[in-house]
């Protein structure tokens, strides 16, 4: 059953060769047709369709950034300018007095910050964030503002996203987001035996640096090589452009490889669902949170930590950092105490919590944000 009709050996061989030849020809045609039909928009400020985005995922980071950066800053895609520490954290905000709250984090913390402001009109919230920014980005941002004496808000909130914890071992957003690269950078922190933190600075610091790297012959490859030294997720195969960018099929293969590469790296850090796979991650997390709280308290302000356990990360923080927060009396909200991350109904299609859940998390954080006096250790 199913076998082709009986043929003589020579005829059969000719037929098999013909089928192979037609298959290859059809694959080339299909590749070209899909490539033409799903070419991304020429204007980097315009978002491509879902299909254009899908077939562009496997394009090298270099090619994607070259396209997205445009000829001038005004022509660049919004992602190019997002998240840079100098741009995001050096801005001056007005003194809001007793109702001022600074929130360091990412989109999850921004959404909860909006809910905080909505639930208590006496609060004025300043948000300092990067796309999917990890704890090292938020901490570096806080340090910049703290050192420059720019932040006068009496409450300092640090948002930490479980799915971004892997970025503690990286120096740039491109390393873990090759499909839609976020080029902003941040330092990598490691904790010493005594709990002190050592920072490894990123090779570039701003959009202008990125523009220069891409414009310099060999600049991009040098940049990737430098990243590769201290960034555990950096991969020249995903970062550097080449002939694979010209074929949809090859791009799909690179995407598959990239997915498996990132999955393996992420799983390795994740360990037993408590980030224990990489021995540097949990100590760095703990040291950053303790140092953040100590600096905030020294300035007579109130630290609050919000631990966002997003989809697939139920109770990851409870074992890894909550005991440290409790031991140091640092007020915190653990989202798994408020909602189940194992329930898909709590999430929107883009992976964020639904607005109703954001409101519940904000309601849980509100007493910590508005509590007095500032230095009292409170546990939610």
């Amino acid at each position: 059953m199913g076998a082709p009709p009986p043929l003589g050996h020579a005829r059969l061989r000719r037929r098999v060769l013909a089928v192979v030849a037609w298959s290859l020809a059809a694959l080339v045609l299909l590749d070209m047709a899909v490539g033409l039909a799903t070419r991304p928009p020429a204007d980097p400020r315009r978002e491509g369709s879902a299909l254009q985005t899908y077939f562009d995922y496997g394009t090298s980071i270099e090619a994607k950034l070259r396209r997205a950066i445009g000829r001038t800053p005004g022509e660049a895609a919004p992602i190019i300018s997002s998240g840079w520490l100098a741009k995001e954290c050096d801005r001056t905000v007005p003194d809001h007095g007793r109702g001022g709250v600074s929130v360091y984090g990412m989109s999850f913390s921004n959404r909860v910050a909006d809910q905080l402001a909505a639930q208590d009109p006496a609060l004025t919230v300043d948000k300092f964030a990067g796309p999917g920014a990890p704890l090292n980005h938020s901490y570096a941002c806080f340090l910049r503002r703290d050192a420059a004496g720019r932040d006068h808000n009496p409450v300092q909130v640090l948002g930490v996203l479980a799915s971004s914890i892997r970025r503690l071992t990286t120096l740039s957003g491109i390393s873990t987001s090759f499909e839609q690269p976020q080029p902003f950078t941040y330092p990598r922190y490691t904790a010493g035996a005594a709990g002190g933190l050592t920072a490894i600075p990123p090779p570039i610091l701003s959009e202008a640096d990125l523009r220069r790297v891409l414009a310099t012959p060999g600049g991009w490859r040098d940049y990737v090589a430098k990243l590769d030294e201290h960034d555990d997720f950096a991969s020249p195969w995903l970062a550097n452009g080449g002939i694979a960018d010209w074929s949809v099929t090859l791009r799909l293969i690179r995407r598959a490889w990239g997915q498996h590469y990132l999955r393996a790296k992420t799983d390795a850090i994740r360990g037993n669902d408590d980030f224990s796979g990489d021995p540097t991650v949990v100590p760095a997390m703990r040291a950053i949170m303790v140092d953040f709280a100590a600096r905030v308290r020294r300035a007579g302000k109130r630290p609050v930590v919000i631990l966002f356990e997003d989809r697939g990360y139920e109770d990851a923080f409870r074992r890894s950092v909550v005991p440290t927060l409790v031991a140091h009396g640092i007020p915190y909200v653990l989202t798994s105490d408020v909602v189940q991350s194992g329930n898909p109904a709590n999430f929107m299609a883009d992976g964020h919590f639904t607005p109703a859940i954001d409101a519940r998390i904000a309601a849980a954080a509100l007493p910590l944000v508005t509590a007095a006096p500032a230095n009292s250790p409170v546990r939610h």
Binding site: M1, G2, A3, P4, P5, P6, L7, H9, L12, R13, R15, V16, A18, V19, V20, A21, W22, S23, L24, A25, A26, L27, L29, L30, D31, V34, L51, Y54, Y57, T249, L252, I253, R255, A256, Q259, R263, Q340, G342, N343, P344, A345, N346, F347, A349
Partner: protein, 561 residues
């Protein structure tokens, strides 16, 4: 080692190369080693189970035919099982896998030595009994031997697969007599594919007992029959009369067979990687949800699982058949357009044919089949499917699924006045089941072009609900989902994530291919298309497969059985 992994690609490339270079007997030896390597990739220690089943069933097969088992065969079998105990159980294989080094690997394992001592005792006793059994009256000896074979195989299966389930199920009883069920529970991992190779090995002794198969006198050929790697962990469950002759005689690798094999591998990988793995996250979102799930999502999730399980399981079978064809060995067809079935009887002629025909031949018929009156026939049908459900796994939802299938068959039999049966083994082995069904009572009120799709669509509802029972985690989930489907419970908002693009494109492509096969009345009918058209199809399959390689790999669903 998953079929859809680079490890397997490298492994098979080596196997194939050696296979082409070696003469026939060495080919078999190499295939046997390759089978043990393939299975040992999961856990070397479980190779002892395969070795034990092999030894027991080979010995019993020989004794069923000839009470005076030749000394050479006895020695080979005895030394093989003792060697297996020493090699697979005495060193610390998990330590080696964890990178513990040679000294950690060679650390003697207490359990290994206990099993070795037990095995040595069993071997000595068996050799003694074999001599005494020769003096017994033939019928009695044969009956005792077949009971031994069934008991040993089912004991292994029961111990590893069902022990914890029965302890959990009898929790109330064990507590009432003062025993903590936790202390009774075994902390063991279920050996991959144990149900498959156990049934395959068992079918050999039963067929020898029924004098349908001449037992092989070459121990290593039989060992290869049990450990032939393509169907080893997820079927098809081969029969000795089909596979063994292909293993015991020199094989020719023909171009047509190889080309067919490559096409099957492409189609199988496409089904598994592009479609099944692409649908898995959406299905999991429904069935693994810890919160409320909407009625719409239950319906869509169940339909998606219906597609997922078909692509996952038939994809494995296709790859197994394809890989085997490259080695010049044909495996039986395991899926025959099952979702075009119009009734439960036809469904079981088309779905997992190697299991349904096994159940028919060795269980349904053994229970009396339809030879003992109407009521007994219904009881036998129901029991067969109930045990078929239990075969799938040690959980109440599988038992419920089996009962549901049994009930469907009984109702259908009653409605068609017994004109339909389970598939015949001859059809199954030869892969020649009639695509358009057996003696189906045709609906007379409507023309066929209208009644056929209507009947297929109507029966599909029952198939899908069966898969809901199969996929559910708990009885509570079954009750909750069923109540929601029946509008007895309020529904939540929809939150189902979209399947991946490869799954959507792949499902459409596959549906088209299946429809063409159904209309043509044969599987892989596209292999008769003109070369250009075939080429276009293969290019499309390959392209969608490449799209699917980004999907998170999911273990084959049937590995757990």
């Amino acid at each position: 080692m998953l079929f859809n992994s680079l490890e397997f690609a490298a492994y098979f490339a080596c196997v194939y190369l050696l296979y082409r270079l070696l003469p026939f007997r060495w080919q078999n030896r190499m295939l046997l080693l390759a089978g043990y390597l393939f299975y040992g990739w999961w856990d070397v220690r479980f190779l002892f189970l395969i070795a034990f089943s092999t030894t027991v069933d080979f010995t019993i097969g020989s004794l069923l035919e000839n009470p005076h088992m030749p000394k050479r065969e006895r020695w080979t079998a005895s030394l093989f099982i003792l060697g297996a105990a020493i090699l697979f159980l005495c060193p610390d294989w998990p330590a080696l896998a964890a990178g513990g080094g040679l000294s950690a690997f060679l650390t003697p394992q207490a359990m290994g030595f206990q099993v070795l001592a037990g095995t040595a005792a069993v071997v000595a006793l068996a050799n003694l009994l074999i001599v005494r059994a020769a003096a017994m009256e033939e019928d009695r000896r044969r009956k005792i031997l077949i009971v031994c074979s069934v008991a040993v195989n089912l004991a292994f299966l029961g111990f590893f697969k069902y022990f914890n389930f029965f302890i959990d199920s009898a929790e109330g009883l064990t507590r009432s007599i003062g025993l903590d069920p936790e202390t009774l529970r075994l902390h063991i991992v279920l050996p991959v594919g144990i149900s498959f190779y156990t049934f395959q090995s068992l079918s050999y002794t039963i067929d020898v007992y029924r004098r349908r198969v001449t037992p092989t006198h070459r121990f290593w050929d039989f060992a290869l029959f049990v450990a032939y790697f393509p169907p080893m962990v997820a079927g098809p469950i081969e029969r000795a009369r089909h596979l063994l002759p292909q293993l015991t005689r020199p094989r020719q690798i023909r171009l047509a067979q190889s080309a067919h094999g490559l096409v099957l591998i492409l189609v199988g990988l496409f089904k598994k990687v592009a479609v099944a793995d692409g649908l898995a996250p959406s299905v999991d979102a429904v069935f693994n949800s810890t919160g409320a799930v909407s009625q719409t999502d239950i319906v869509i999730g169940t339909v998606l699982f219906t597609i997922q399980i078909f692509c996952d399981f038939s994809g494995y079978s296709d790859i197994a058949r394809g890989v085997s064809k490259l080695l010049g060995i044909d495996l039986m067809v395991n899926f025959n357009l099952p979702y075009f079935s119009k009734n439960p009887s036809e469904f079981w002629r088309r779905w997992h044919i190697s299991l349904s025909s096994w159940l028919r031949d060795y269980l349904y018929i053994a229970l009396g089949g339809n030879r003992q009156g109407k009521l007994r026939t219904y009881v036998n049908l129901f029991l067969t499917m109930l045990l078929g459900g239990l075969w799938h796994g040690a959980a109440w939802n599988y038992i419920l699924w089996g009962a549901y299938q049994g009930l469907l068959l009984c109702v259908h039999r009653a409605a068609t006045h017994g004109r339909e049966t389970l598939p015949s083994s001859r059809e199954a082995v030869a892969g020649t089941t009639d695509l358009h069904g057996g003696a189906v009572a045709k609906a007379r009120a409507l023309p066929t072009w209208l009644s056929t799709p209507l009947r297929i669509g109507f029966f599909m509802i029952f198939v899908c609900y069966g898969w809901l029972l199969f996929r559910a985690h708990t009885m509570d989930q079954i009750v909750q989902f069923t109540a929601q489907l029946a509008w007895l419970r309020p529904s939540g908002a929809s939150m189902l994530p979209m399947p991946t693009l490869s799954a959507i494109a792949g499902t459409l492509l596959l549906a088209g291919m299946q429809l063409v096969d159904y209309r043509a009345g044969r599987l892989e009918s596209f292999m008769r298309w003109p070369a250009a058209l075939q080429g276009a199809l293969y290019a499309a399959l390959f392209f969608v497969l490449i799209m699917g390689t980004s999907n998170a790999p999911v273990q084959f669903i049937y590995f757990q059985f």
